[in-house]
């Protein structure tokens, strides 16, 4: 059995430092609700990945619990996250993998 829906990391550390020189990554987290076919479709549509790459990322999310789907400057990553949230995917931004 997989765990029911919970937040990925409950520990909020307000002191976590943001390093302005470090690149950002966009993470998508596994959840028991989104269909595998849907996640693949969204990754192809939003990032222009071919089906093979989108499926590999989707399987990483499914099997490893999360995957890095994009990276870059903070503003670009925030826009990516917004679009992923618009599509109902569970996305966060981070500076560490």
């Amino acid at each position: 059995m997989t765990a029911p829906v919970t937040t990925p990391d409950e520990t909020v550390d307000a002191d976590t430092k943001i390093d302005p020189d470090k690149p950002w990554i966009v993470l998508v987290w596994n959840d028991p609700i989104n269909l595998m076919s849907y996640v693949t479709h969204v990754l192809q549509k939003l990032f222009g990945y071919n089906r093979e790459k989108a499926e590999r990322l989707m399987l990483d999310v499914h099997e490893k619990g999360r995957a890095v789907v994009a990276n870059g400057p903070r503003e670009k990553c925030e826009l990516d996250v917004f679009r992923l949230h618009e599509h109902g995917l569970w996305a966060t931004l981070s500076q560490d993998d």
């Binding site: 059995m1 997989t2 765990a3 029911p4 829906v5 937040t7 990925p8 990391d9 409950e10 520990t11 909020v12 550390d13 307000a14 976590t16 943001i18 959840d31 028991p32 609700i33 989104n34 269909l35 076919s37 849907y38 479709h41 925030e78 996250v81 917004f82 949230h85 618009e86 599509h87 109902g88 569970w90 996305a91 966060t92 931004l93 981070s94």
Partner: protein
């Protein structure tokens, strides 16, 4: 006639929505709007925290986007409501249908606390069984939409 979505040659989508499917969506869409606008806790999956480790950044992001995400979610519901009797949808309208159906699944799956192994027998109240049946049905609808968008007709 069974429920179906088909990609047309001109990039639009043909839709066949049997009366039972239509009336279910007609009931669910306004309920979903109410759940979103009243900030029902079980709609949190539609509004994930993008910065779980940075409280200040999360606040700044939240201020930056304001109601934009909620407005996008509500706009998708509006589009479905306005096109329930359409025989043809343009691509943007089809995407709105896809989003709205997924919003409903995210809410129901959260309320039902589903796991990847959940099935009908896990629920022993009439309300739970009824919602799980709708959740499964909406998964089928979403699968059909995704296939049509990928250009595969079923």
């Amino acid at each position: 006639m069974a429920l179906s979505f088909r990609r047309n040659g001109d990039g639009s989508f043909g839709i066949t929505l049997p009366i039972h499917d239509r009336s279910l969506l007609e009931q669910l869409v306004p309920q979903m709007r109410e759940l979103i606008t009243s900030h029902d806790p079980d709609t949190w999956r539609l509004f994930p925290n993008p910065y779980p480790k940075h409280e200040k950044a999360a606040d700044e992001y939240s201020e930056l986007i304001g109601n934009d995400l909620q407005d996008r979610h509500l706009a998708a519901l509006d589009t479905v409501e306005k096109t329930l009797d359409a025989k043809r949808l343009d691509e943007d309208q089809m995407v709105s249908w896809m989003h709205a159906v997924n919003h409903l699944r995210l809410f129901m799956g959260t309320r039902l606390q589903v796991t990847e192994d959940s099935d009908f027998d896990d629920y022993n109240t009439e309300e739970g069984q009824s919602m799980f049946a709708m959740y499964s049905y909406l998964g089928h609808v979403l699968e059909l939409i995704v296939r049509a968008m990928a250009g595969e007709d079923y």
